[in-house]
């Protein structure tokens, strides 16, 4: 178990290193005229050269990379070219917004998917149709269309929740919930489509296995067979799907934040990219990959714990 964790952590570190290195060399090597963008079209070549020197952009690219990497190891992601704010603190400020939406969405997704997946594996019939319906809707209407429709119906027309903005959870729980529930639902629809289908499929596989028949032959109740035995054995593959889905949700949250005007990662990354704010762009990609690594590690650990063959040895 211990070597298993070490191995996964090692793989995660490699992934972070590779992705940030690629991003660094692609963005810094692309010749984006950063100083020109900051100073505007009327800047003289002297001004541009002096700003480049200030930002360290005149140094060889490898030197720039290692100085950036050195900073990262000390938790310093550099400063924004445009606002001079520390990237680390900007990201930490925006973290609660994106995480609120993604986590609420995950909770909805997991609960609904397990209920729907288990029920339709056990009963089939109209529940299968509901599941197919959700999947079809999520494929046909991209997140942006669903998001706008929900805003229009629930925020603009019915006025149940505010259309835009974020309320921190410390300020008012109801306000916070109202501000994240619609974006969370938009993300959850796509998640439910894939996770519920996965749960249904694995549950059907498990329910047709020999051990289920043996349990039945000893008079074990259907409820226990479904919710204890089959679900427990189906949990592993479902968790793996969940980790992939989490990454997809995090990506889609960038779109959804824009619709609901949430000051999260998406708007930060968007501004950074539009402006060509290289340290901010790198910060966003480093942070996203780091998040993916953490989620995958947690899911791997949970999978290891679920599987007695890994846990006991």
């Amino acid at each position: 178990m211990f070597t298993f964790i070490l191995k996964r952590l090692g793989e995660g570190a490699i992934l972070i290193f590779v992705v940030t290195a690629i991003t660094f060399f692609l963005t810094f090597g692309a010749g984006i005229p950063v100083a020109h963008n900051i100073l505007g079209p009327s800047a003289t070549p002297e001004q541009i050269a002096s700003l480049n020197a200030d930002l360290g952009l005149d140094r060889p690219i490898l030197e720039q990379y290692f100085s950036w990497l050195g900073g990262v190891l000390h938790g310093d992601l550099g400063h924004s070219y445009f606002t001079s704010e520390a990237i680390t603190s900007s990201l930490i400020h925006r973290l609660p917004v994106t995480m609120s939406v993604v986590l609420v969405s995950c909770i909805i997704t997991v609960i609904v998917s397990v209920l729907l997946g288990v029920a339709s594996a056990a009963r089939g019939g109209w529940l299968d149709k509901v599941l197919q319906g959700i999947a079809t809707i999520s494929y046909i209407f991209p997140a942006i269309v669903l998001g706008v429709v929900l805003v229009y119906v629930f925020a603009v027309t019915l006025k149940w929740v505010p259309a835009i903005g974020f309320v921190p959870i410390g300020e008012s729980f109801g306000g916070w919930f109202g501000s994240v529930i619609l974006p969370a639902i938009v993300l959850a629809i796509g998640g439910i489509a894939s996770l519920a289908a996965q749960v249904r499929g694995t549950m059907i596989d498990e329910l047709s296995k020999d051990y289920i028949r043996s349990l039945r032959s000893r008079g074990v109740t259907e409820r226990s067979i479904l919710l204890k035995h089959a679900l427990r054995n189906a949990a592993g593959p479902a968790l793996t799907t969940f980790s992939l889905m989490f990454i997809a949700m995090f990506g889609s949250s960038l779109f959804v934040e824009k619709i609901f005007a949430l000051p999260g990662f998406g708007s930060f990354g968007y501004m950074a990219t539009i402006q060509g704010d290289l340290p901010a762009m790198l910060g966003v990609s480093l942070f996203s990959v780091g998040l993916v690594v953490v989620v995958n590690l947690v899911v791997d650990l949970a999978n290891g714990w679920l599987n007695p063959k890994v846990r006991v040895s």
């Binding site: 046909i140 000893r218 990454i247």
Partner: protein, 598 residues
């Protein structure tokens, strides 16, 4: 390798080809499939004819037509908040979406299938490395990276889709790799290789053929994903403002949604039509590939299999003192073509208390189906009917699942054939054995009962086995565990389905001894399902011989052994005698024979 064996794969391919051709026909006959194709073609046509169908350049802004309503002269869908022609922009957006789909799905398809073919066909180290890389690629936060890298590739939607396509590749990679691996292991590729076909020909002829259908379906879904992502990126404002697209249109319309909600509806509608037709096409193609049976199978699908009484059974006077009484049992399964396949046809059977009855027949004779129908454990789609089916005098016909469950935890129990797969891998042996007992007694009592039983069935360290997971115990131990579980409720009738077939020869004898001892102690009636007359001779009082769902003959073991009335029974008996002959041969001769065979 004979000529016949080599030509066989070609016949298979010909059949496959016919199936594929049929799939296209079925797809077009399916109303959803046909309409998806029509909508898709219509949209492609609209996009291609954009210069002819629209009166204005999609970028041209007319101040007179700001927020013009739909149907204004020459402005079919009206103007947006900048006075641009919505119809012209919708048509251009169709093209942008289609190009995005082709680039995104195309890059994913090419990368995924090339490396998937290599990994699946080469196997070994190449497979391990490629699988590792693609697994990593799958976990990348693709949207964030596409966003961050957008300025590098000049922020065109084509460039962004090319990058995004790389992140779509792992899905295709895994699909192709698994399919190719499956095909590679199949006999006919071996046959083709021996026949001297080059690797390239094997790949193109056999492998690509099998892979094609699933890959087409996945690619269609990837195309729809690419369209969604492109529109999302454009909605955010990525890509050139000079390129109209559904994303930028919905983005503009969203800013204007308080005043002109209809401006949002048009791009959404066409976007939904485009992705919707792709998805419906994918689904319809999948159904069509699955063959014609799915529709019929769905119609015939049954969820419950209660014991059905077809004819009236006799009043209680006919019960007698039997433990199990079975009259005219029939088990059938609905077939794809609507007919019924009978697996048990009119079997009658009696078991008296304390009697061991062997149910003998080769595989497919219906003996296991008979056993499961008594237990009420047949799959849901099975149809069971009998004139009479009584356990200890109580009719089992029309009994609810709940009542059946009470019987199973009590008077009737079951020992399976394959011990390892019959234990839930996620729970300890003890916890799963206790589960059936805890409704009758406390947890502590149940634990004591199970521990005592584990000792009784010959497990050396009951406490340790109790806390073990199934993967930690041997097959023989697992079978002892399952026997302990089966007798825990002190059943009156024990149904053992080939209880020794999956075990080592030495363990087989021990398990049979154990069964005999337990039967004596508990006075159970036993239905022993087996194909082995040796086991019957060892254990049974009476024997029932089945073939193709029918009863062949029945009688006392001695009687049947010495005077089988049917030739089939004699064959079954002979087969066990042959085994004995082999076993009695001196080892040297056996070795020589084995050597001679090779």
């Amino acid at each position: 390798m004979t000529v016949n064996e080599v030509t066989q794969p070609l016949e298979v391919s010909a059949q496959e080809m016919k199936k594929r051709a049929g799939a296209m026909k079925r797809l077009l006959r399916n109303p959803l499939g046909l309409s998806s194709v029509i909508i898709m073609l219509a949209l492609v046509l609209l996009g291609l004819l954009e210069p002819v169908l629209s009166n204005h350049d999609p970028l041209f802004a007319s101040l007179q037509h700001i927020n013009a309503p739909a149907g204004t002269d020459g402005w079919l869908l009206g103007g947006d908040q900048f006075g641009r022609d919505i119809w012209a922009r919708v048509l251009t957006s169709i093209n942008v979406s289609l190009i995005s789909a082709v680039i995104g799905a195309g890059v994913g398809l090419v990368f995924g299938s090339i490396f998937g073919l290599i990994a699946g066909y080469a196997g070994g180290r190449a497979d391990a490395v490629l699988s590792w890389i693609f697994n990593l690629l799958m976990t990348f936060p693709s949207l964030v990276l596409v966003m961050v890298l957008a300025p590098v590739i000049g922020s065109t939607y084509q460039g962004m889709m090319a990058i995004f396509g790389l992140f779509l590749a792992p899905g295709i990679f895994r699909l192709v790799r698994n399919l190719v691996q499956g095909v590679r292991n199949e006999l006919y590729v071996d046959a083709a290789r021996v026949a001297g076909l080059s690797t390239r020909r094997i790949l193109s002829r056999h492998v690509l053929y099998v892979v094609r259908g699933p890959v087409v379906i996945s690619t269609v879904f990837l195309a729809s994903t690419a369209i969604g992502v492109q529109s999302g990126l454009a909605f955010l404002g990525f890509g050139s403002t000079q390129t109209p697209s559904f994303g930028s249109m919905t983005g503009d319309a969203f800013a204007n949604i308080y005043t002109e909600p209809m401006q949002f509806v048009w791009p959404s509608l066409f976007l939904a039509l485009l992705s919707g037709s792709l998805i419906l096409f994918g689904n319809a193609y999948r159904d069509a590939l699955a063959g014609p049976q799915t529709v019929a199978a769905k119609k015939k699908h049954r969820r419950e299999a209660p014991h059905e009484a077809v004819t009236r059974y006799e009043p209680d006077g006919a019960v007698g003192g039997g433990l199990l009484k079975l009259r005219n049992l029939r088990v059938s399964y609905p077939q794809p073509d609507g007919s019924e396949k009978n697996v048990v046809e009119g079997l009658s059977l009696d078991i008296h208390p304390g009697e061991i009855v062997g149910l003998v027949g080769e595989s497919g004779s219906g003996k296991t189906q008979t056993a499961f129908s008594i237990l009420g454990l047949l799959p849901k789609e099975a149809r069971v009917a009998a004139d009479e089916m009584r356990l200890a005098g109580d009719s089992l016909i029309g009994v609810s699942q709940t009542q059946m469950r009470k019987l199973r935890g009590g008077v009737i129990s079951y020992i399976p054939q394959e011990p390892m797969s019959n234990l839930d891998p996620s729970f300890t042996v003890g916890s799963q054995l206790m589960e059936g007992l805890t409704k009758a007694m406390s947890k502590a009592e149940a634990k004591q009962t199970i521990l005592a039983l584990l000792e009784r069935v010959g497990i050396a360290d009951p406490a340790r086995t109790f806390n073990s997971y199934p993967h930690q115990i041997s097959g023989g131990m697992a079978q002892r565990v399952l026997i302990a579980g089966a007798v825990a409720s002190r059943p009156k009738l024990l149904i053992a389905d080939e209880p020794t077939t999956a075990l080592d020869v030495t363990v087989q004898a021990e398990i049979l001894d154990l069964l005999r001892e337990l039967q004596g102690e508990l006075g159970m009636g036993v239905l022993l399902v087996t194909h082995n007359f040796g086991v019957v001779a060892d254990l049974c009082d009476r024997v029932v011989v089945m073939r193709n769902g029918h009863l062949v003959e029945e009688g006392g073991v001695r009687e049947i052994f010495h005077h089988p009335s049917q030739e089939y029974t004699q064959e079954l008996i002979n087969s066990i005698l042959d085994e004995d002959t082999v076993r009695m041969d001196p080892p040297v001769v056996v070795a020589a024979q084995a050597g001679g065979k090779e």
